[in-house]
């Protein structure tokens, strides 16, 4: 029994080495495979079927409850609100026939609705909007985005949120079947871009009430008025299909007949499915992105999400941290190489950010990017950082600082946190960083308790205006959670919101000034990067529109050409 195990031990090593060699084998097939699919956008194929991957399940199809990207994306393709983001990421009238009538003060909007139908054949009326919006603001519904998006904008929304008014008092009214009147709290320049957001989609009252709790919990108990209808979604499953909606008003522009979606959570599996021809699109991350960087099938998309370090000035809202010292904050914000971080560590299409309001996001009336006003602030500069650091240390009367760094627990964020820790400790002598990597929910919890020193965080916009980012850092801002308070900043923001509400140019400048105070003067946060994404997409997929925020994709215009 014990003899000669040596023999098989050596055979074991042999097998092991085969296994290793196998791993190192060539990937030669890939290069030649897809060369035939590079015909220029020709006529659509006979079979219009798209196969795609989502990264998570649909939590709900109820437009007032949805909070996540996947849910918003699905809703964007099966439903339609007054407005819709077009191929250029501009909100354009959809169910609304055209631009609304606005009163002189800019507080009453009157929308005219086009003739359009729900998937059950009934007409989409103004009442469907009124009902859905009021349902969203009703505290019992528990909609996150309802009160959040409406408060301070639509009349009485704030009071309803506080319980001081009833949902029926909300400033929205169906004048008749085809006319919707919205009354605002105050003039809001970005109001129309909100109309493309999923919270403001219509819902048919009769249907919602009939389905009760089951409403929008699977594809049969949901009603659609968009380009596609949902099929085969059981509420918690990993697959569903979109099928062209024959009741959609603009169905002539919808070319795809069917879209098959599968949820795949492992990137590697997604890429394997793509490579084997099973799927037409797959997201790329980290190392995968690096490997495919020069592949003709790679698409890069800029997203409107900035990521930054939050400096907590008062631990749990009470005790001041060393980060209350502006020089220390400035030092940290300049002490890491953002370019290396985004290009080499993330390498997923993200790029360095020296600002809060992202590039290619908000434009003034002449089409000029908001970024052109302030440009870059607090760029990486190790020497300057060290100067600030020493100054700060002297003010604090210490030479050693230990800080807790709160980050996410995904592979990528772990890698990034390690890099940041390394950079900061290298460039700021005397600093030691303790990483604390936790699941998202825990991080949110610690954030709300202000139980951290430095936190890595990001923000995705809710509407297309710099205000969506800048209002985060108001002294009483709900998302502030780091005890940042600047009278100067608050003043600029107040001006932008009220005094200059109807004066776009001055408002723009005030917002820019606020950003400058936040980042350059106070270094309240340290911008790190603006997110970009990379994906592999077969070249026969045409006009699949990727949005930079909110819902990720629109399939309305997409078609297949040259697959056969």
């Amino acid at each position: 029994m014990k003899k000669n195990k040596l023999v098989w031990l050596s055979s074991l090593i042999l097998v092991l080495s085969i296994f290793l060699a196998a791993c190192g084998g060539g990937d030669d097939k890939d290069a030649s495979k897809d060369s035939d699919s590079k015909k220029d956008s020709g006529s659509p194929d006979a079979t219009q079927e798209l196969n795609i991957i989502e990264s998570a399940e649909i939590p709900t199809m109820d437009s007032v409850l949805v909070t996540d990207v996947v849910g918003s994306t699905v809703l964007n393709n099966v439903n339609e609100g007054l407005y819709r983001y077009n191929e250029e990421n501009v909100a354009v009238p959809a169910i609304a026939t055209g631009e609304p009538e606005v009163n002189k003060e800019g507080t009453v909007y009157t929308f005219k609705l086009r003739d359009s139908k729900w998937s059950d054949g009934s007409t989409v009326t103004a009442n469907d909007f009124e009902y859905a919006w009021k349902r969203a603001i009703e505290p019992k519904t528990g909609s996150e985005y309802g009160p959040y998006m409406m408060a301070g904008i639509i009349k009485n929304a704030t009071e309803i949120g506080k319980g001081k008014a009833k949902a029926s008092d909300l400033g929205v009214k169906a004048l008749d079947d085809k006319t919707l009147e919205v009354t605002l709290e105050k003039p809001t320049p970005y109001f129309l871009s909100l109309m493309a957001f999923s919270t403001f989609l219509p819902q048919k009252e009769e249907f919602v009430k009939e389905q009760g709790k089951k409403y929008a919990s699977n594809s049969e108990t949901t009603l659609y008025n968009g380009p596609f209808v949902l099929k085969g979604w059981d509420g918690t499953g990993l697959k569903w299909q979109y099928v062209k909606n024959d009741n959609y008003w603009d169905k002539d522009n919808v070319k795809l007949d069917k879209i098959n979606v599968d949820v795949v959570k492992e990137d590697q599996t997604a890429i394997n499915l793509y490579t084997s021809g099973k799927k037409d699109r797959a997201g790329l991350s980290g190392e995968f992105a690096m490997q495919y960087a020069n592949d003709p099938e790679v698409l890069k998309v800029v997203e409107s999400s900035p990521f930054y370090l939050k400096f907590n000035q008062k631990r749990e809202g009470k005790e001041e941290t060393v980060l209350a010292n502006a020089n220390i904050r400035k030092a940290i914000s300049m002490a890491f190489n953002k370019e290396d971080l985004s290009k080499a560590v993330l390498a997923n299409g993200s790029f360095e950010a020296n600002y809060l309001v992202p590039a290619e996001f908000a434009y003034d009336e002449d089409g000029k990017d908001f970024r052109e006003v302030n440009g870059n602030m607090n760029k990486f500069n190790a020497e300057e950082a060290k100067t600030y650091w020493e100054k700060g240390l002297k003010e604090l009367g210490t030479d050693k600082v230990a800080l807790e760094f709160l980050g996410g627990d995904s592979d990528l964020s772990k890698k990034m946190d390690e890099y940041l820790k390394n950079q900061l400790e290298k460039n700021l002598p005397g600093l030691s960083i303790k990483l604390k990597e936790v699941p998202f929910l825990v991080r949110v919890d610690l954030d709300s308790k202000q139980d951290y020193d430095i936190q890595f965080a990001g923000w995705s916009p809710d509407f297309q205006d710099p205000y969506t980012f800048l209002n985060l850092w108001l002294t009483d801002g709900q998302q502030n959670k780091m005890s940042y308070s600047s009278a100067k900043y608050d003043k600029f923001m107040k001006d932008a919101e009220t005094t200059f509400a109807n004066d776009p140019a001055k408002r723009w400048q005030a917002l820019a000034d606020a950003e400058k105070v936040l980042i350059e003067e106070d270094a309240a946060i340290a911008p790190v990067y603006q997110r970009g994404t990379m994906a592999l997409q077969k070249t026969y997929v045409k006009d699949l529109v990727k949005h930079s925020f909110g819902a990720q994709y629109s399939y309305k215009w997409a078609y297949i050409s040259g697959k056969e």
Binding site: K2, Q291, A293, D411, E418
Partner: protein, 339 residues
């Protein structure tokens, strides 16, 4: 038929004197338990090779991070994702720093202008895989060892007490075990780690929280078997205390099975740690374990196989070594197997 026999000298027929006092003498040198075990395990070549492999890995895990010119934490981002390159071996065409980039074979060291050698390559942050792998091995072994020792102590104490005192004590203690046995270990471990601050301690506690049950069952069985045997009864009749009986008579007999079982606990603890890394509950960076290294690497099988292959190979070697040593010890320590 007559046969010629060699003629024996008369001296050969001398009478041998039987010395009664010498009959009980054992001519072989007396061997204690361990010498005996060693003698027998020495014949088991697989186990011997495994012991060498294991010793080598343990030594490397201690000195490895030191002999590499690169530190396990230092990041050199421009040196990220380099394949292994070993001086000497590069001349014969292996470990020469060639890797794939965008589907083509190129020498990544030349492309990135790197003139140093990374024996095991680098990871995505440009850290030296050589020192990381050995550091990771060290931490994996540490976790496994501590978990195994905790398992052993609790399990032996629990099983021993339960069996030795018997009766009601045994009954009560076994009911508890029966209930605990039904709890899915995996789930408990996951829940524990969710509650505790993630880290080495959390993993060790989580692994040992139910790990001792198996050990306690085995020890109990063994003690039950021995405690009524004649040599124990004899000792008791001669007035030996409970402590003496346990220490001098029971423990040495149960020892073998405890050690064997520990040999199998260690690899399963290492394995479990790897599994925890996969579902995202493993160690916190920049600490590395074999589990986290493999978890980082397995996604990159197609592009940077070295990031997976080296820690996976060491993990496999460890598993195999422990299992074979365990097998060998079982054969060597089991009196039935004596040849």
């Amino acid at each position: 038929m007559t046969k010629e026999y060699p003629k024996l000298p008369p001296e050969a027929f001398k009478h041998v004197h039987m010395d009664g006092s010498q009959t009980e003498k054992i001519s072989k040198p007396s061997l204690n338990f361990w010498q005996d075990a060693w003698l027998r395990i020495r014949k088991n070549k697989a186990a011997v090779v495994s012991i060498f492999v294991l010793t080598f890995i343990v030594l490397m895990s201690l000195v490895g991070p030191m002999i590499s010119p690169h530190d396990f934490e230092t990041q050199e981002i421009t040196h990220a994702n380099l394949p292994p390159k070993v001086p000497g071996l590069e001349k014969i065409g292996i470990f020469d720093g060639t890797g794939k980039m965008g589907g083509k074979e190129i020498n990544l060291y030349e492309m990135k202008n790197v003139d140093t050698y990374y024996w095991f390559g680098t990871d995505g942050l440009g850290r030296d895989m050589f020192s990381r792998v050995w550091k990771g091995t060290q931490i994996s072994l540490l976790i496994a060892l501590i978990a195994a020792v905790i398992d052993m102590v609790i399990g032996v104490a629990y099983g021993g007490i339960s069996a030795y005192y018997g009766g009601r004590v045994d009954d009560a203690m076994q009911r508890v075990v029966e209930i605990l046995y039904g709890i899915p270990t995996l789930v408990v471990v996951i829940l524990m780690i969710l509650v505790m601050d993630p880290g080495i301690m959390a993993i060790i506690i989580a692994i040992s929280i139910t790990g001792w049950i198996g050990m306690s069952r085995i020890v109990r069985g063994q003690v039950l078997k021995y405690k009524n045997q004649e040599f124990v009864l004899a000792a008791r009749t001669l007035g030996a205390s409970n402590g003496r009986i346990i220490k001098k008579h029971l423990l040495p007999n149960v020892m073998a099975i405890i050690i064997i079982n520990t040999m199998f606990t260690i690899p399963s603890a290492i394995f479990f740690e790897a599994f925890l890394s996969f579902i995202g509950l493993g160690l916190q960076s920049p600490n590395a374990s074999l589990g986290t290294l493999i978890n980082d690497g397995y996604r990159l099988i197609q592009f940077q196989p070295h990031i997976l292959a080296i820690p996976a190979a060491i993990l496999s070697l460890l598993m195999i070594a422990f299992n074979l040593i365990g097998d060998g010890l079982r054969d060597a320590l089991d009196p039935k197997m004596k040849d």
